[in-house]
């Protein structure tokens, strides 16, 4: 594989500016990498190489004439939840069929206007409902990571890349884009980032425009990036975020230079450690990871404080009322009339029912039905209103915490990546994947997942930092401190290369590597 696909955004940006490489060369390297890896990994549901190379050509002209924009010539992947003008957008559902928008999402437009190159549309769970990318109508994404067996040798088990942004996390981890867009309703950026050794940030609700993003649960959905490093995530978020009159919940507040904030360090920052996240049956390795994080932040100059967020355990059940309720309402628009799949019936209602039965997958149907039930006559107060009240209490917990701390440190997930099918039989077991991430959506706060270690199986684990509203800058500073201490975690066993290429000689040493890179000061 090309060394170019191993670059970070910051490194690629410098090489482009110095004319060490051209945008076309860089884009071609990714186009080739996608060709070779996608049959094995299935991260892209629609690669767009022609468009990418056309954008790269324009970038090369701008780089040449000194008119380079902030992300000039940097190839990115775009989750298939973001509408793309003239490019099929499906939310990885059959019901959208070959839907081709005549408009671009605001976040996407911000990236392309900043000079970024779109490599294609990335796989995800259907309508972003899932934690393993197994609900996609295009089939699951295979994580580039492989776990070791009890004997310490790599197994061939197909692991999930997390979800719903599993195409985004897998593509970034496998070097199939420099970074990717993603969305997070209950953990869909942070959980896949944690399971693939990548950095993912869900910004404050209102930081990024939701316009042109296929809606799941409107009061919880937020866009954000998945990237290789904290610095790259900072560069991405600054470009993605904006105030947008087309989204009335987008907030008119300046977007800081997050990358510049990284140099500030964390001396004197007060970090809260919530006792309620020490859940029953938490594995020793997750606990150790958490303790490592505490020690690293302390060593970097932060102070550590025990805090309490008493309503934490109610966040997940409240989420599984609010999110399906909003989804059942949002997904009512898929009626087989104005766009997408139609399965004719004997009359109009029969046509609706046939189209929706054939177009929605099992998990989506399940959530629409739960949502319809909790919103139905006689049940609204008992379920939806109750959940919204609990949500007020969850937010109040954090408001109280902010009186004594600047951010909160927790694990991102309760366990490392699992294999296909291990959790898909039981919806509740899958829902528990979001136990540490969902509170952040319920309270509208920013949260970032940073790679912090490897499990006993040799697969990545992440730590989560939660911040005050619109204080993503502090999250990036603390995340940088963790990355500096923990190093980066990259996939060394590129098994898919052997899958796609000629019968290559199997490599003897296939272990995953931890590299200490430290922060690059500019």
């Amino acid at each position: 594989m090309s060394e170019l696909t191993k670059l970070t955004i910051a490194e690629a940006r410098d090489k482009l500016r110095k004319k060490d490489i051209s945008a076309t060369e860089l884009t071609q390297a990714f186009v080739d990498a996608i060709d070779a890896a996608n049959p094995s990994i299935n991260a892209y549901v629609l690669p767009t190489p022609e468009r990418a190379l056309a954008q790269a050509k324009e970038s090369d002209q701008r780089l040449k004439s000194g008119e380079a924009r902030p992300l000039e010539g940097l190839p990115l992947g775009n989750k298939d939840l973001f509408c793309t003008v003239g490019v099929r957008t499906t939310a990885c559902s059959k019901i959208l069929d070959a839907f081709t928008p005549s408009y671009e999402s605001t976040v996407g437009a911000n990236l392309w206007n900043a000079g970024a190159v779109m490599l294609g549309k990335l796989n995800c769970d259907e309508f972003a409902m899932g934690s393993s990318n197994e609900t996609s109508a295009f089939g699951p994404v295979v994580s580039p990571w492989r776990r070791n067996g009890k004997d310490g040798k790599p197994t061939a088990d197909k692991l999930v890349p997390g979800g719903s942004s599993g195409g985004s996390s897998a593509a970034v981890a496998a070097g199939l884009c420099l970074a990717a867009t993603a969305t997070d309703t209950g953990g869909s950026i942070r959980q896949p980032a944690a399971l693939t050794g990548t950095v993912g940030i869900k910004p404050t609700y209102g930081r990024c425009s939701r316009w042109g993003i296929v809606a799941f649960a409107s009061s919880l959905d937020q866009a954000g990036p998945i990237a290789k490093t904290v610095r790259d995530a900072a560069i991405m978020l600054r470009a993605m975020a904006s105030h947008d009159p087309k989204d009335s919940t987008s907030v008119e507040t300046p977007v800081p230079d997050y990358e510049a904030a990284l140099a500030q360090g964390i001396k004197g920052l007060r970090v809260g450690v919530p006792k309620e996240y020490r859940v029953e049956g938490m594995s020793k390795e997750i606990d150790k990871l958490w303790q490592d994080g505490i020690a690293w932040l302390k060593a970097a100059g932060a102070t550590i404080h025990d805090i309490s967020l008493p309503h934490t355990k109610y966040a997940l059940p409240a989420y599984y009322i609010v999110a399906p309720a909003e989804a059942s309402s949002n997904l009512a628009r898929y009626d087989g009339v104005r766009y997408g799949l139609r399965v004719p019936g004997k009359d109009l209602i029969d046509t609706y029912e046939n189209s929706r039965a054939a177009g929605f997958g099992k998990e989506v149907r399940r959530r629409i039905l739960v949502g319809t039930y909790v919103l139905s006559a006689g049940y609204y107060d008992a379920y939806y209103l109750k959940a919204q009240k609990v949500r007020t209490l969850i937010k109040r917990d954090f408001d109280d915490a902010w009186k004594s701390v600047d951010l909160v440190l927790t694990p991102t997930t309760p366990s490392p990546a699992f294999a296909f099918g291990e959790k898909s039989g039981d919806p509740l077991a899958m829902y528990l994947e979001d136990i540490f991430t969902v509170t952040v959506n319920m309270a509208g706060l920013p949260g970032i997942s940073v790679p912090a270690g490897l499990s006993a199986e040799g697969t990545p684990l992440g730590l989560q930092l939660i911040g005050k509203p619109f204080d993503e800058a502090t999250l990036f500073r603390a995340a940088q401190a963790i990355e500096d201490a923990a190093g980066r975690f990259t996939v060394e066993n590129r098994w898919w290369a052997a899958d796609s290429a000629k019968p290559a000689a199997a490599k003897a040493d296939t272990g995953n590597k931890k590299t200490k890179t430290g922060s690059k000061s500019k």
């Binding site: 059940p317 104005r338 109009l348 319809t372 509740l428």
Partner: protein
């Protein structure tokens, strides 16, 4: 809360999703399981709590009530499964 088959069929009808007999049986158990699990919220005293309506305390922006968009009928019908001129075509609804 135990959801019976009649209820499953009623909400499937409300949601306009056709379900088979076999699916209805499976959904009875699945929906009951999920609803039982969310009922742990009853342990929380919310008598004096306001429901959350927005996570960020901002006022909704208002704009002048003028036309800002339009003349895009071609775009709007472009993705429809059945179209005549600028109309969506559906099965007959009035006899």
């Amino acid at each position: 809360m135990r959801v019976d088959e009649t209820t499953v069929r009623r909400i499937a009808r409300l949601a306009r999703i056709k379900i088979s007999d076999e699916e209805a049986k499976g959904l009875e158990a699945e929906l009951s399981g999920i609803l039982n699990w969310v009922e742990q919220l009853d342990q929380v005293d919310t008598a004096a709590v306001e429901p959350m309506t927005r996570v960020v305390p901002i006022d909704l922006k208002r704009r002048t009530d003028v036309v800002t968009d339009g003349d895009i009928a071609d775009d709007i019908v472009k993705n429809a499964p059945m179209v005549e001129d600028h109309f969506f075509v559906v099965p007959k609804v009035v006899e």
